[in-house]
Symmetry: none
DNA sequence: AATGAATGAGGATTCATTCAT
DNA sequence: GATGAATGAATCCTCATTCAT
């Protein structure tokens, strides 16, 4: 019983199914067939709406990134001082959702896909750029010209902790994850603006 | 013309071929056939010696990790103070070889493989554990009880920077890569042992 | 906004689109989807009007044959002697339009289709029969009873030259194409009616 | 029970199966699966030996052309005068084998394939070139400078008759097929060398 | 009159792996 | 010790076609 206006519904449910399937088949090879079956449609429909597997993967990752962005923005709005905003940013990266198996797997998929797909690479780089730029923006009032370099350090630490956590099957609470980052922020800020950064 | 004692030679050349093939096919799908062809043998021989593709991949990664370990130990031997050893450790992670395309690709392969292969996961965890333990060992004389927590932060930053670098096609010189880590070490050490870590 | 009387318009535009698409995809696999898109309608509409892909292909070929027939008849009307009519017939087969890529491709499609579709086969045979009959009609005053056999020879040469030309990407001017045929006509006519044909 | 030295056997049987399958599925879409099944092997083996469907098709056509060439050369050897050789050439084109359904279908396949495959196009052109050159070689002693033009006419007639015959399901005996060509040869030769060809 | 929705069937191709030699 | 032979299983993708709207 075909109905009109199904496109957005199908797209969304295929994207959801893709993410869920990433989590299940920890391997990268979530197939179009599996995803479609989970979404309750035929594989042909997935191709009809997304054109190719890669596009479906990309759409799934965009979905995750969009949600991450929304949460981050919301957290930033609630913070009032630069330091509070930096904390919020760090904590946003380690929200429980980010450690759901399917999200972790999606990130892994994504970083692999970025090796071959220019679209994925662009998306991934944009994400990193934004994160660094956000960090630098709030570091500037506190440490001045050293902000960009410090932002890079913080961003690296965030990324490193994320994959470290993602490697352990038992995932730590976000608080223990975020601690080293907060510590690093403390140290950088305490060092003050005068000191030249490497 | 079968010869005696070929086993170690064949194994080594298959491992080399696997690593080389990882670099060529940026995708994960280096096939047994391609690897065998590069090694100048039949795919059947690869199975004969390694049993399965996964084992060949693992052997390749072990090879890379062993070389990394050797280089690290050598560098540590040349350093005399704890701080010098910490520097050496950090620099070892960013030696040019670590950024050769095939090594980067091998790491990526490896982290994916670790999701499904218990052997790979064990190997990967052991590597991380050793790195953190090495760092903590040399941090202890400088900052005391805070050493383990600080080691985790440093290790995370190392990992984060590595993937960040690996994502860029144009790879930075190891000096700019190591800078944020040295900076972090400076800050942690300057803070001294008294201060409690988060 | 469905309108009345759209049927002939849609049919015509689908037929045109089919022919155009034959030219574009040199392969036989012009798909219903591509044709419909080019015609600015949905694939479902093509089925609505033509029932099946094959019927659409047939309609396209009928369209081409009808145009060819019209041009031929017009050329014949302008000719006054039997010999002039034979010339006109030969030249009609090599009019520039017959070498437009889409027409060449349509002929190829058609001759393939004729292997499986009785309708197409019937159409193709009728075309050949008419051509031979036309040739024989004008040969009879010149060579008498040998006319049918000679017509077969001329028709064969016409067909052979057409595919020969169609095979070369650079298509010769119609004059060089028609020359062997005119030559053959000259010879047959010069031989006169008395001589028995094989 | 795999045996050694199977490659040539498998290749040959796949080529045979392909030709047979061309005849059965009058359509162009003889699938690799069908061909492989007929040859008693898996589709994967067909790919193993031929790399791709197109190459298998090409090999099949080369096989047919080679046989045709062999027969032609044999017939030419038995002929002693130029005229006898021309007759032999014409008759060779219409030997019963050339009208076996699978051979007719292979030719059709081939001419379609030539639209998209440079390899097929090259092969097809070479065949035509050789035929014309053979004809011209034996026409020269009889009609001098007009030989090339006359050869083109004869070749066209041969091709035209072939497809004409191939279109009829009931295939005529080779004698009635070759008659118009012999007739044309008679006329051209009777006209002698002096007359300029168009 | 027209279409968006949906699919079943199928097809080329790839690949790890097995086994007799 | 080494390999050629062979395949089963899987995957992405395409397309004509149908149907409710």
């Amino acid at each position: 019983m075909p109905k009109l206006g199904m496109e957005p519904i199908r797209r969304a449910s295929l994207v959801d199914a893709a993410i869920a399937e990433f989590g299940r088949a920890r391997t990268l090879d979530a197939t179009v067939g599996q995803i479609a079956r989970r979404a309750g449609v035929s594989p042909a429909l997935a191709h009809h709406y997304f054109g190719a597997k890669e596009q479906l993967f990309l759409a799934a990752m965009r979905h995750i990134l969009r949600r991450f962005g929304d949460q981050t923005r919301a957290a930033l709005k609630r913070a009032e001082t630069p330091r509070a905003r930096l904390d919020a940013l760090a904590r946003a990266c380690f929200q429980p959702e980010q450690f759901h198996p399917e999200v972790v797997a999606a990130w892994r998929n994504f970083s692999v896909l970025a090796q071959t797909s220019p679209d994925a690479q662009r998306l991934l780089r944009r994400y990193h750029r934004r994160l660094r730029s956000n960090l630098a923006h709030d570091l500037r009032p506190l440490i001045g010209a050293r902000a960009p370099a410090a932002a890079a350090g913080v961003a690296a630490m965030l990324a490193g902790i994320y994959i470290g956590q993602a490697l352990n099957t038992a995932l730590a609470s976000d608080d223990s994850a975020v601690a080293p980052v907060l510590r690093h922020l403390d140290l950088e800020i305490a060092a003050g603006p005068s000191e030249p950064s490497a």
